[in-house]
Amino acid sequence: MGKTLAEKILSDRSGTDARAGEIVIAKVDLAFVQDTTGPLALRQLEAMGFKSLANRERSIIFLDHAVPTPNKELANDHMFLRDFAAKMGARLSDVGEGICHQLVAESWANPGEVIVGADSHTVTAGALGAFATGMGSTDVAVALALGRTWLRVPESFKIVVSGAFKPGVYAKDLILHLIGSIGADGATYKSLEFDGEAIETMAMSERLTISNMAVEAGAKVGLFAADSITQEYLTSRGRGQMFRSLAPDADAIYERAIEIDASALEPTVAKPHTVDNTALAKELAGTKIQQVFIGTCTNGRLEDLAVAASILKGRKSHSGVRLIIGPASKEVLLKAVDAGYIQTLLAAGAVLVPPGCAGCLGLHQGVLGDGEACLSTANRNFQGRMGNPSAFIYLGSPATAAASAIIGEIADPRQFFV
């Protein structure tokens, strides 16, 4: 009987014939923490009596959620993390380098690996064919020390996407549509495996957006096969030699198959306060917003800024809207400057924040006021997420965000595509 992607990867990394429903102990190829989950992880590591890391070269501490630090408590946390990295020989990604998941994709993740991170959006690396999943601080501490973890092999859903994306419609709309239809608990404990003609030709940047949001349907991982696009991406990142082809077996067993026609998708928005509370952008016309945020691990890449810049070029964001741009990494920022996107966005009235998580999780750089509404390209819109339980967060693609910034209301971006 054939294997799904999840079964293949976990079989390989556990040295067993791993099947859905079984518990395995798998080697961990990359383990990381970020600045708001790291301090607890490192304290627990010490509490458990561990004195060294299993694989220092593949243990990373990312400073990204509060950069530069907005208060002394977080500044002290950063100091603790830097000290620890130096003492234990772990890698440190310091203030300004970028968001952990973006950097993991740019520099670290490879097909077939098991990756654990103390952040739920660790699933992002599934776009590269890695079994990448988020865990709590203590679990990641054990993974850092032992180089392995226990995992339940998930059942898999096959998401087959046929057709082609129409102008103004993107991967963000696809994943929001999927989560809206199966629900925020529609894929709890499952592996989402993406396939079909629209997936086979999909650029890595868009794949990362989709994998990033797998957790918002409750999934353990969101996986893509490792194909020629994966190989091109890895080569462009200087690690082409890490490519290996990875695909599910033709006779693999899936618990559920969901078919989506990309040609029928329209710009989609998640309304407050859950990711599965979706509607079409055009249905929300008239909804006033006071802030637009284009960035995050979901949609803060060069390609996302390019889309936003193409819509905002020669236009201005609405006078009642604060347009905040957060490139997901330093490299994205530098390339966006080179390409002229930052100039375009600033000229349109945008405000630039450093490469990092920015206002996504409510600590700084765009906290909302009472009753305010924000259209964000992030992955989560829970009540209070951006720092104020009396505010409202809508999620959409960079195109929807840019269009909305111009109109001052939630807007369908297709009106800007002629």
Partner: protein
């Protein structure tokens, strides 16, 4: 085969569906994560601001569907436990939250919670897998926790488990 042993008794704090990790530990307080007692003062603040002052040791948090959806922040079940809650009951639980709760030694019992109301007196027999709502006179069973997690829970959480065994034992 590991078992959970003991009888837990307390009041139910009934919450609705979709209690997220932002309801449990609001993001705006994340800068307090290295000061857990201070962070714990804000537990469930955005779901029920009166929770932290009303909860008594031994009480239960009772939710509906998809309890704990969202973030991997282990701080969420940690501060619920610090409030003295002895177990979480819910119709369904998000994956990362479930594993984190077990890791901090907080039992999570998946059962039909629709009939449990706020303030009901509950008695939970961990060994027999039974929940008795003494106020309503109804008896419920909860879903078995996988053996690997039960062993961790019975040691009091992942830290004492690792202190004892040094590694994962399947």
């Amino acid at each position: 085969m590991p078992e959970m042993l003991g009888i837990l008794r307390g009041r139910a704090f009934k919450l609705g569906d979709d209690i997220s990790t932002d309801h449990i530990q609001p993001g705006r307080y994340s800068y307090l994560r290295s000061n857990l007692p201070e962070l714990a003062k804000h537990v469930l603040e955005d779901a029920d601001p009166s929770f932290v002052s009303r909860v008594r040791p031994g009480d239960f948090v009772v939710g509906g569907n998809n309890f704990g959806l969202g973030s991997s922040r282990e701080h969420a079940p940690t501060i619920i436990k610090m409030a003295g809650v002895s177990a979480i009951l819910a119709r369904s639980v998000a994956r990362i939250f479930f594993r984190n709760a077990i890791n901090v030694g907080l039992p999570v019992l998946v059962c039909e919670t629709d009939g449990i109301d706020d303030g009901d007196e509950l008695e939970v027999d961990l060994g027999r897998g039974i929940i008795l709502d003494r106020t309503k006179g109804i008896e419920l069973s909860f879903a078995k926790i996988p053996d690997v997690m039960l062993t961790i829970l019975n040691e009091g959480g992942l830290v004492p488990y690792i202190q004892k065994y040094g590694d994962f034992k399947l």
